[in-house]
């Protein structure tokens, strides 16, 4: 294991991407993710890679499409309003079945919103964001170490399934420093026979395209894509269970709010409250099975989110509304305190649901 260094979450993403073999990055500055671009600007020239600050987010995502078409690993990053601008390009990447990594270090919205941390792009990233039937793999890190390791994972999954992987972080995760080991291990290489690498007059032309004017063909493409998504839902779900063995109340939280919730859970446990947490690491594919199983044991669920209640819909669907699900949230750049979460846990433990 390599020596641990203190790094900002944003920098850890950038370095991990390079370690994962991403030598092409296109971006446009926006708080609170600017350190990703700044780090890339410093490192890429030294390794013979490409760092390019595009004239806009729209331009950057289209450059990503270009590099992805050649089969090379490529990344862009932004924060909420910037990711909205990239939505068209993400839909095109999906329609062309191209692998790429898109990082969203979320801030408060809607509109220009604010620059403080938020989780209110959950719908945007897990349900689409752009037009058409498609999915992104969405990974939600909750430590600087995971900012690095899940970035490596994102590249792997993007290549494995030929699609977009997103890192769904937030301003806190991007700005905070923690010890991180950048030993990424062996990087898997995937064959990309579809890539535009020049035929050298030795093979048929490859075509990367998302336009299908015959509806019969487009329908087949969509069906095929959803077979792939089904396999991902089967094989790639990641989550962490915390003190769930005897839990009667189940907290569900990802990213920064899962860390706040951990403080509250420890405090509640010290007072004898049987509470645990399921932390989705992949928010798509969503950890439905473990949640449904928890619904048979727990009396109630609490979603801790920095949104008006977005993931809570997935929780209710996953547990098929078998038990009540309560929301504990702050929005607009505010972060819930452990005391607020603890109060909700106590309230739900006393009044919520019934065996």
């Amino acid at each position: 294991m390599s020596e641990k260094v203190l790094m900002k979450g944003n920098e850890a993403i950038a370095e991990a991407a390079i370690q994962a073999g991403c030598h092409h990055y296109f971006g446009y500055p926006i708080t609170p993710q600017t350190e990703v671009a700044a780090y890339m600007a410093k490192r890429m020239p030294k390794i013979g890679g490409t760092f390019l600050q595009a004239e806009s987010e729209v331009s950057a995502i289209n450059m990503v499409i270009g590099v992805a078409s050649t089969g090379k690993r490529v990344m862009t990053s932004s924060s909420s309003p910037g990711v909205s601008l990239k939505a068209e390009g993400i839909s095109y990447l999906a329609g062309c079945d191209l692998p790429a990594v898109v990082v969203n270090v979320q801030r408060g919205g809607p509109g220009l919103g604010g620059i403080q941390p938020s989780q209110s792009d959950y719908f945007q990233s897990t349900k689409g964001g752009g037009h058409g039937d498609y999915r992104n793999i969405v990974l939600a890190p909750s430590s600087v170490q995971e900012m690095a390791s899940l970035t490596v994972k994102a590249f792997d999954l993007a290549d494995k399934y030929s699609m977009v992987s997103m890192i769904l972080a937030d301003g806190t995760m991007g700005q905070m420093m923690e010890p991180v080991s950048l030993d990424v291990g062996e990087v898997t290489k995937y064959e990309k026979p579809w890539a535009l690498t020049g035929t050298k007059c030795e093979r048929e032309h490859n075509i990367v395209n998302s336009l299908y004017l015959k509806p019969e063909e487009l329908e087949i493409k969509n069906f095929e894509r959803y077979e792939k998504y089904k396999a991902i839902e089967e094989n790639e779900v990641m989550y962490e269970e915390y003190l769930m063995d005897d839990a009667e109340v189940c907290v569900v939280a990802f990213g920064i709010t899962s860390r706040v919730a951990k403080n509250a859970i420890n405090e509640a446990r010290a007072n004898g409250v049987k509470v645990g947490m399921i932390r989705p690491i992949t928010v798509w594919p969503f950890p439905k099975k473990v949640l449904e199983a928890a619904a048979d044991k727990c009396k109630a669920f609490i979603c801790v989110e920095m949104s008006m209640g977005q993931m809570i819909e997935d929780v209710e669907l996953a547990i098929r509304c078998k038990k009540p699900v309560y929301l504990c949230n702050r929005v607009g750049g505010m972060i819930p305190t452990p005391e607020e979460v603890l109060a909700k846990i106590n309230e739900v433990n006393e009044n919520g649901g019934a065996f």
Partner: protein, 180 residues
């Protein structure tokens, strides 16, 4: 002192608030502790107040946000006024008494007044009031010491400014030795 120490450094942008916090975090890392460092990055850091949350612990760190610090380092008046009441009972407040005339009103905390900015001027290291006050923190907070100061400084002082290693050490030492 519990096994977890939550510190809040607060002052003006440019006083080296984030740097001092990073130094302590690195010192913790070298000593095999769990550490986290979280800066304010809002509009306030652009010339206004800056602060950073640092947690040093024997256990895995949950939330990196310090709402109720065990230790507050206040390097300007707005910071003291804003955070004085958030310090836990029995906690410690370090005040740069050159820049803050006001006395701490709380009676349930230990308070240390250090004329850090004046000392920095007197010693011709005028940008290092942050490290002088940090030296005092190392002295007064039980779980801290002068161990690994050198190693931690080498991690945070950039290679381009390596000649500043010595003055940082001097600053820490003078804060450590300061008696009110």
């Amino acid at each position: 002192m519990s096994k977890t120490c939550r510190l809040l450094f607060a002052g003006f942008g440019g006083q080296g608030i984030l740097f001092a916090g990073k130094f302590l975090a690195y010192k913790g890392l070298i000593e095999d502790k769990q550490v986290s460092w979280l800066p304010s990055y809002g509009p306030e850091m652009r010339g206004g107040t800056a602060n950073c949350s640092v947690i040093i612990s024997d256990e895995p760190i949950g939330s990196p946000i310090v709402d109720a610090p065990d230790v507050l380092i206040a390097m300007n008046l707005p910071s003291l006024e804003k955070y004085e009441n958030s310090v836990v009972s029995g906690g410690k407040i370090f005040v740069d008494s050159t820049l803050i005339d006001k006395k701490v009103e709380r009676t349930d905390v230990d308070v240390y007044y250090i004329p850090a900015t004046q000392m920095a001027y007197d010693n011709n290291i005028k940008t290092l009031a942050n490290m002088i006050i940090t030296g005092k923190v190392l002295k007064e907070v039980e779980s801290f010491s002068l161990d690994n100061v050198d190693a931690a400084l080498k991690k945070v002082v950039s290679a381009r400014k390596i000649e500043l290693l010595g003055v940082n050490e001097t600053a820490i030492k003078s804060g450590y030795d300061y008696a009110e």
